[in-house]
């Protein structure tokens, strides 16, 4: 082997490459957050650049990542060597770097936009779609079951919380597991009749199911309030501390000795969805490498082979439907709590289509892809607001372009759930 090859894969070179990747990605993300600021000039908002601050961020990212990596490696090398490659491939380095910087950006966002309600709100919406995308990804991306009625489970979650809280005084945290379980039950109920269906037929039946739920909610006025929806849904509290100027119990700002600001609640909601999304992510990542997840993927690849190997495809399908539905139920609870008001209008087919578009655009089965696609689908229409009438046109054109350039989605490469030879795959 030549010296160049050795040095290219030496720890230092790998660390530098890793830090560089983080810096590039972080820099891109930091550009709108830190590099640009809006200032008021003569009553109008204008955008100013802050290259100095941006440059400092880049440097901090680069050296911070380098130090962190070195510390992590040192910590790892002290523990008994596990058969696990630290750097499995250049691609994985990039993925991990992208994931880390996205996470950092998500956690730091409110620090930079503490008083910008619009940004926090948009980011919260993005969080909901990321969570929904990840949930649907279980059904469509992993298990390969085309589901066009996913929004039904989102509605089940939202209405469960709305009804339990307004009728029976349940709190957000009490209703969350109940709504998840109920949505999962609906997932199984839908799953049973469609067990034998695949592809287009499955899509049509699930589409119908989504519409049935919406139409029932629209017409069963005594139960769901019909088209008027349900209002006055309580907002989640911070471990019992309300976000209000004054309330019966102690309020959030009193407890922490802060000046009251309506932004506290929005930032809290934002962090809440970030936490829910992270839990979702952790759950799916773990399930994927368990027998359950591998069975989902095997089902997507070849159902007949699954049967020949003794897999009960009924259980496999129902578990995928139930898991996806449960996650949508959680997202629904959050949605209801955030809006304070829900009506069937929020759960139309176009919502299902958007979520499906996020999954397909992101690259089926890819979790990072879902985040990118959700960002494209949520932020793009927002940016397009200036174009008013042309908004949907721009949006559609962007989607078509992406699908034409990358038909398999933004990130379609699949990471194996287990490797026999981790060392070998590190070699170029």
């Amino acid at each position: 082997m030549t010296a160049a090859v050795i040095s290219a894969s030496s720890p230092l070179a790998l660390r530098l490459r890793d830090a560089l990747a983080v810096t590039v990605l972080g820099g891109l993300l930091a550009l709108p957050f830190i590099g640009l600021v809006t200032v008021e000039e003569g009553g109008a908002l204008t955008v100013r650049t802050r290259w100095g601050a941006w440059g400092a961020t880049l440097a901090a990212l680069f050296f911070g990542r380098l130090l962190l990596r070195a510390a992590l490696d040192a910590w790892r090398s002290r523990r008994p060597a596990r058969k696990r490659a630290v750097f499995s491939s250049g691609d994985a380095v990039l993925r991990r770097a992208a994931g880390t910087s996205l996470l950092a950006a998500a956690l730091l966002l409110p620090v930079f936009f503490a008083d910008n309600r619009y940004v926090i709100d948009t980011a919260t919406t993005l969080g909901i779609y990321v969570m929904l995308g990840w949930g649907l990804n279980v059904v469509v991306g992993l298990a390969g079951l085309l589901d066009l009625g996913y929004v039904a489970f989102y509605a089940v979650g939202a209405y469960t919380y709305a009804l339990l809280s307004t009728q029976f005084g349940w709190s957000f945290w009490e209703a969350l597991p109940a709504a998840g379980a109920l949505a999962a039950l609906f997932g199984i109920l839908l799953g049973y009749p469609v067990l034998r269906l695949r592809g287009d037929y499955l899509a049509i039946v699930t589409l119908g199911f989504g519409e049935i739920i919406r139409i029932v909610l629209l017409n069963w006025t005594s139960f769901s309030g019909g088209p008027n929806g349900i209002g006055g849904i309580p907002r989640p509290s911070f471990f019992g501390l309300a976000f209000a100027r004054s309330a019966e119990g102690r309020t959030f700002h009193e407890f922490f000795g802060l000046e009251f600001s309506p932004m506290h609640r929005f930032i809290f909601l934002y962090y809440l969805i970030v936490v829910l999304a992270l839990l979702t992510h952790a759950l799916i990542s773990r399930l994927r490498v368990l027998p359950t997840g591998r069975a989902w993927e095997a089902l997507r690849e070849d159902e007949i082979a699954c049967k020949a190997l003794g897999l009960n495809t009924t259980t496999v399908k129902l578990s995928a439907f139930a898991t996806g539905a449960m996650l949508a139920g959680f997202a629904g609870v959050f949605f209801a709590a955030r809006q304070g008001f829900i009506s069937p209008e929020s759960f139309t087919f176009s919502e299902s289509a958007t979520i499906l578009a996020i999954v397909v655009l992101g690259g089926m089965g890819s979790q990072l892809g879902v985040v990118l696609a959700a960002a494209v689908l949520v932020v793009l229409p927002e940016l397009g607001r200036q174009f008013a009438d042309y908004r949907m046109l721009v949006f559609g054109a962007a989607m078509v372009t992406i699908m034409a350039v990358k038909p398999t989605g933004l990130l379609a490469r699949r990471e194996p759930t287990v490797r026999l030879n981790p060392e070998r795959s590190a070699a170029p």
Binding site: L283, R286, L287, L290, P291, T292, R294, A295, E297, A298, R300, E301, D302, I304, A305, C306, K307, A308, L309, G310, L311, N312, T313, R414, P416, T417, V418, R419, L420, N421, R424, S425
Partner: protein, 270 residues
């Protein structure tokens, strides 16, 4: 010795077509049985009945357990045949989980044991020692078969990206990971080059002699049939037309007629 499997007057109809027409045969224990016959004879249909993909129109398929009891497979639901009767098959047109790696394919074959250890994914999510042990054992088992079939080097490659001959081997390795008692191979030599075909001969004999497996395989490649099988069943039009040791089948006039057609009988005799 009692046979492992008895097929008793099996009939399989599809609308007007009778693909299997009163077929009876026995699969001897610990031996290699070949099923041969012209295209459309009903060989794959027989496999589909054995492995629970089709529910036969009539007849019985009896599995003789080691304790002398017997079990009618036509009553067992599809996936339970692989799991409980431990009859596992491969397919005429390879059916791998193409996007998943070879190793993952082999782990899916061990799904049942792993899923039980993961207890509805709970033990798996919590990463309990019990689940970790099951996972380690499954990996070790897969590693052994990978080595035995010369697939270690491609273990982390997506199965769909492998050459045809290798895919056939992966499919056999995957079936073996499901711990079969009876392994059914549908045309395992189809599409193999002479070297791969010779390797297959070695593998099949090793599975019988070293692992004590019973094998049933469909094959058109006569060199494989003659070299490895202990017993040959010849089918035509859904019926068994002859049965016996391979050398005898080569000379059987019924068999020659089925393969060459009526007119060529004299030519074959010559």
């Amino acid at each position: 010795m009692t046979p492992l499997l008895t097929v008793d007057r099996l009939v399989m109809r599809f609308g007007g077509i009778t693909a299997i027409d009163g077929l009876s045969l026995q699969v001897p224990r610990g031996a290699i049985t070949a099923v041969i016959g012209p295209n459309g004879a009903g060989k794959t249909t027989l496999f589909n009945c054995l492995t629970g993909f089709y529910r036969p129109s009539a007849g019985r398929i009896l599995l003789h357990e080691d304790d002398g009891s017997e079990r009618d497979l036509t009553r067992l639901k599809g996936h339970r045949i692989a799991r409980e009767a431990r009859i596992v098959r491969t397919f005429q047109n390879i059916r791998l989980f193409g996007g998943m790696t070879v190793l993952e394919n082999l782990l899916v074959a061990q799904h049942h044991a792993l899923a039980q250890a993961s207890r509805f994914a709970l033990a798996g999510l919590l990463h309990t020692p019990g689940y970790r042990r099951a996972e380690r054992e499954a990996l070790e088992f897969a590693r052994r078969w990978l080595a035995e079939l010369g697939l270690t080097a491609v273990a982390d490659t997506p199965a769909g990206a492998l050459p045809y001959g290798t895919q056939r081997r992966v499919e056999i390795a995957r079936a073996l990971c499901a711990r079969p008692r009876l392994l059914c191979l549908d045309e395992p030599a189809a599409g193999l080059n002479p070297r791969e075909s010779a390797e297959l001969n070695v593998l099949l004999t090793a599975l019988r002699d070293e692992h004590g497996l019973t094998l049933l395989f469909i094959e058109h490649d006569m060199s494989v049939v003659m070299n490895v099988s202990d017993h040959v069943v010849v089918m035509n039009f859904g019926r068994k037309i002859a049965e016996g040791p391979p050398e005898a089948m080569r000379r059987d006039p019924e068999v020659i007629r089925a393969y060459l057609g009526e007119e060529d009988e004299e030519a074959a005799d010559a």
